[in-house]
Amino acid sequence: MSIDAQVESKPTGKSTKGDDVVIELGSVNKWYGEFHVLKDINLSVYQGEKIVICGPSGSGKSTLIRCINRLEEHQGGDIIVNGVTLDNNLKNIDAIRSDVGMVFQSFNLFPHLTVLENCTLAPIWVKQTPKAQADELAMEYLHRVKIPEQAAKYPGQLSGGQQQRVAIARSLCMNPQIMLFDEPTSALDPEMISEVLDVMVELADSGMTMLVVTHEMGFAKRVADRVIFMDFGEIVEQNTPEEFFTNPRSDRTKLFLSQILAH
């Protein structure tokens, strides 16, 4: 529980949740072949809200957030992001992807580019930002994730925690309104988890809308406005972190919590 302690030792961020719905999922269904991964998911995410999604592996939590920026295609229901409906129209997909940043479990930095180039690539080639301006922006975000001194290195020369922070900076360089985190700390050594979580906490405090798939319950308690528990492709329970951890309603949630908090 050392991570818990580190995260909780910092001042608790105030909720920045607003009243505008930025992501609306209406009875979303998805199948992988015969396998029904998402069953009738309904979810509204408000501006500035931080949602932590947890659940056992194979419960569909990663698939859910990957549907939001169309890395996976949903087959039923509606996904509306910032008023744009996600369908096969490439323009809509591009519009949504430019508003939604994503951080992956395995970092997925581009190994042939330096840290700085990783961060400036999308601003230069997607948003046509002049290079000097893109460099400046990238350095600003690298400062925010506390690794400006690594800008000239290649991803392969960095530790896992540093790589993940670069990945966060890379997403932020596109000025997204929403950030998706797909198990951002699961591939990290224990000593590196906290440096990534620190960055995510700061990001949350700055008012970013965040959907985070994670098992870092300390992070959930400290940052989340809402915790969602998924199993078998359904949202089993959702609640504020206080209620969720102290007073879970479903017996499935109780079992899950008792297992992950046992050690």
Partner: protein, 451 residues
Amino acid sequence: MTHLDASSSDVSFQPKPSLPPPPNTVGAIGWVRKNLFSSPLNAFLTFVSLYVIWVVVSNTFEWAIVNAVWEANSRRECLDKVGLSGACWAGVSHWMKNFIYGRYPDEEIWRVNLGFGILILWMLPFWLPRVTSKITIGASAILIAPFLLGHLFAGGEKGLFLQVMISVAITSFIFSWLHTLLCIATGKPLWTTIVTASGFAAKPDATHKYPVLAVFLAVFIGAFIYQSGWEITAQSTNLWGGLFVTLVISGIGIAVSLPAGIILALGRRSKMPVIRVVCVAFIELFRSVPLITVLFMAVTMVPLFLPAEINPVKIVQAIIAVCIFSSAYMAETVRGGLQAISKGQYEAAQALGLSYWKMMSLIVMPQALKMMIPNIVGSFIGLLKDTTLVSIVGLYDLLLMLKAVSQNPQWNGIHTEPLVFGAALYFVLCFIMSKYSQHLERTLGAGAAGR
């Protein structure tokens, strides 16, 4: 937990110093012991191998150097001097010009030399430091140079299109070298220099292209007037031969097969069924047919289906056949490289909003091509050697030229020396390519250290 607390510990951890390795395991002695005499059997094998090497090397040396005849006017003279115990290199040096240029007329050989000289100069900036826009220079050499070189080699009448393309080629060449020299001397690219010199620097970025276009047009008009005065005689491609033809066919094959292979490989992985089926059919068809068959089809059967007034040139047909064949192989090489790129790279690129072509050209291809360098250069080497097959359809490439010598009455029966020379020439060419690919791997691989 207190006994694990670092601040309250009273034992400080000091790593032990590293010690040198035991003697006899490093240096020359260590290497010999480990690799040559590690056991009695290995020691025995070492001596046997040394003996075999000695026999081969000393006999070759005697034949090729000590007893060799360097000057003679016929094979008879060679045989009279040393019999078969020495090489008759006179047969090679006497025919050297034909080995390189085929039957191209002596007084026109400067055109071939000039053409290859221009090509080498055109590509040279690629290897110079401080030069920017190398991709553009390389692409212009591959796309535009062939018009100029083709005319130099073949000569004859120029249509308007060819005149324009030759002028564009001359202009591009001049621009490339102006740019290169400016980059080396001042560190500023040609574009910026022209914009500054014309006083457009203060004006909006969108207008910067006008002075550059104006200069380009001026040089183009100059080049057009200059080249319209050219009168160079037509040289039938039947006269082309030797290393010249080998380099033309394999050079075009190499230049075409890489981009064509990339497009075919992307097509094969496309989600659009029609494109995918067409690409798969093309690749599988030409990969499952021997090159000889493709060559025969192109040279003997295709003319049967063409109208009588079109009289295709044999070397062009052979080049097309080689290009088609090598593109199909290259496509599979490229596909192998594409498959080595993890799904996460595609997803990260998509999540950042990159379009398909930007994702491919900025993220996927640079990584895939880097990994594929050994295979790509392997294909190039294979292609260079495979061009010997065009001799079967009657093109006098290097191999057929080498063999033709033995049919000359004066040099009747001289097989070994030309073929040894040819083998050495092919070895040098392939070895240079192979070494260069290793060099590329090292320099490009340095970027992704520890990947």
